[in-house]
């Protein structure tokens, strides 16, 4: 079990860097869709919804 001969799936590593996306542009990641927001005080807020619920 010290090796992973079949290799990791490409799902995560092929994803674009989320920070490169503009705010409010929904992104699919696995089973979720994430949407970036910015709170009034400048803090980051990310909302995640189940992808089937949010076809965007």
């Amino acid at each position: 079990m010290d090796s992973n001969p079949s290799g990791p799936p490409p799902v995560g590593r092929s994803a674009p860097a989320p920070s490169a996306q503009p705010d409010d542009c929904p992104q699919r990641y696995g089973t979720v869709t994430l949407t970036r927001q910015r709170k009034d005080d400048g803090r980051a807020l990310i909302l995640y919804s189940h992808a089937e619920d949010d076809p965007a």
Partner: protein, 343 residues
């Protein structure tokens, strides 16, 4: 945003460890009444959605929407903050009365992807060497907000516990969690739950009466290395344990849940070398597993870290892991299945 100057990292030479001073946290929200929960959705007009008596002119909560599924935001009272780390809050649901164990299975699976996405993004930052996902549940372990949530710290250094796990790899001549998992499966007495992807067991040398580790069967350094089916099975294993804990004494069971993964710094790489969280560069060590530290040793009695534990670093336990495992195994079997109505 918190003034970075309010956060100070000092190195304790005698212990060989960092201490993080975040004095603004002294003023953080502490066990607010239900109607003032900052992690609830915001009702139209501003107040917490769980506050039946709140003024409609009230302030919005941390999540300024009337409903949500999972939300992640920068901690208002961070222990770490860019450019020296990160501190995030992960809210599992907009249901104030839910818990990790009662989330719908699909929501729990979604949460695994949220953890994975945060590991990917935070781990890619130059100032973060270790991404630590965790949950404190219950006032017994210091919870200050009851709404179901966890946290993520991005440490600007490798903390002592994951460093010890890497040292165990060296001592055992290979992946320590792989070796220990093989031993537990061969013995069998402390295994409390299994599915196709994870094994849950009370460790041979558990420190806490009902400590349990949920370990990936295959060697996966991090969530990024898991197949989608493994993430689903990981969520199943974690929820089965959480529900078993609640069944154990028929009460909400306090715990610390600690997700241990590979460091995101390029361990052993030259200064300035490419980071390793999202690629094959550098030496990636670690084996994804989730450790639970419950402070209860009976329904009413807490295990305290006292003289031997704090002063000498040696845990004294009142229970044998084999006995605890038998009790916990039965509790998991007797616990109700996940409530699929929960969001």
């Amino acid at each position: 945003m918190t003034d970075q100057s309010k956060i100070e990292l000092r190195f304790n030479e005698l212990r060989g460890e960092h201490v993080d001073y975040a004095i603004h946290r002294q003023e953080r929200t502490f066990l607010p009444p239900r109607g003032h929960c900052p992690l609830c959705p915001t009702r139209p007009g501003g107040a917490s959605i769980s506050d039946d008596d709140a003024s409609p002119e009230g302030e919005p909560t941390e999540i300024p929407f009337p409903a949500f599924q999972i939300a992640v935001f920068d901690n208002r009272f961070p222990a770490f903050q860019a450019p020296l780390g990160a501190a995030e809050v992960v809210v599992y649901t907009d249901d104030h009365d839910a818990s990790f164990g009662t989330l719908a299975p699909q929501r729990a699976e979604d949460l695994m992807w949220v953890w994975r996405q945060r590991y990917l993004e935070l781990g890619d930052r130059e100032d973060i060497d270790y991404v630590f996902v965790f949950e404190n549940r219950g006032v017994e372990v210091g919870v200050t907000l009851h709404h179901p949530h966890g946290q993520i710290y991005g440490y600007p250094f490798l903390p002592p516990v994951p460093a010890l796990e890497l040292a165990a790899d060296e001592r055992l001549g290979g992946c320590a969690p792989c070796t220990l998992l093989h031993r537990e499966l061969a013995d069998g007495r402390r295994v409390v739950y299994e599915n196709d992807a994870v094994v849950t067991y009370v460790p041979y040398a558990a420190r806490w009466a009902y400590e349990a580790h949920v370990t990936l069967r295959e060697h996966r350094p991090s969530l990024l290395d898991c197949r989608p089916q493994e993430l689903r099975m990981l969520a199943d294993g974690l929820q089965a344990l959480a529900r078993g804990y609640d069944k154990l004494f028929d009460r909400p069971f306090p715990y610390v849940m600690a997700v241990h993964q590979a460091p995101t710094a390029a361990i052993g790489a030259a200064p300035g070398a490419a980071r390793s969280a999202v690629g094959e560069r550098g030496k990636r060590q670690g084996h994804l597993h989730v450790e639970f530290y419950p402070p209860l040793r009976t329904a009413e009695k807490l295990k305290y870290l006292a003289g031997s534990e704090q002063g000498a670093g040696t845990f004294i336990s009142d229970t044998l892991p084999e006995q605890s495992a038998a009790t916990l195994r039965q509790a998991i079997a007797d616990a109700p299945a996940g409530d699929r109505r929960r969001g």
